[in-house]
Subunit: 144 residues, 2 copies
DNA sequence: CTTGGAATTGACGTTAACGTAAACGTCAAC
DNA sequence: GTTGACGTTTACGTTAACGTCAATTCCAAG
């Protein structure tokens, strides 16, 4: 391990600049979607004239947004969560509030996780039963 | 444990009949929503004249639908999943197909779970950092 | 008998999250 | 100089998932 990477726990990707089409391709969405997220205040890329220029930070942020979407959060909720950690952390009162909200959100996420685990368990159950049934009929569950 | 419950691994609730308003209250939704789900073919309650009568089975099914929604599935997806296990399981080919789809779905769910775990980890990280910061300032993170 | 509470069926309204199309600017390539 | 790839804004269209409201029925209570 080099000295450069030794001080860097998470491997950052080189700080590039991305076009809107580039990000759209990478994340499998359209440019329209990215502009829409900007309208909604979720990302604020630099501009060079009218053209949008996205930093690595913007890219990470976009990835975060999309993961939130995959988890079923609305854009409004995602915006709140993003804003949450953007606020000033100078005062003790603000830190307490941030802590409180974080905990609330974690509880929500863990409820979701319980739902998800239950869902997975049920489907695995079905898988097991069907496999069993197939074996009972002398068929290989993994065969074609 | 009594003989009655001993043979019953999962405690079934007594087979009652529910009104639409009753179910709506219980699940925190409106009757309109339940009727809408029926229009979409997600539930098919009995009828007594025009009035809908819901069985315990219908109730479980409704709960399942709502859990699916909490997980971010669309009604169309939920319908597919419900229909999936409704199909006939007599033929080996059908069993194989069911098994295949189950596995595909389980993979999807486990991807979601990975997303969710990552999300949770990040927020716990924030919680830890903020707690640390508060302690550094001589404030109790759990105090008021 | 009528009054009130719960149910029903339309039918139209609404919000979120984009899609789609029109009209235009910019720049490098041919 | 025009063609084509990429970018822009403005604006209207669309789908999902209900909300809302009107008009009606059914039934038990007073």
């Amino acid at each position: 391990m080099t000295a450069a990477t030794a001080s860097q726990a998470v491997p950052r990707d080189l700080p590039r600049i991305y076009s809107i089409a580039e990000l759209a391709r990478e994340f499998g969405i359209t440019a329209r979607t990215i502009r829409f997220y900007e309208d909604e205040g979720l990302i604020k890329p630099r501009r060079q004239g009218l053209t949008r220029l996205y930093s690595s930070h913007d890219r990470v942020r976009l990835g975060w947004i999309l993961r939130g979407k995959r988890l079923g959060f609305s854009l409004a909720e995602i915006k709140q969560l993003l804003d949450l950690y953007q606020v000033d952390r100078t005062g003790v009162q603000q830190l307490r509030e941030l802590l409180r909200r974080s905990r609330v959100h974690i509880e929500d996420l863990e409820r979701r996780r319980a739902d998800l685990d239950q869902h997975i368990a049920e489907f695995k159950d079905v898988e097991a039963q069907v496999s069993q049934e197939l074996r009972g009929r002398g068929a290989d569950p993994n065969g074609d």
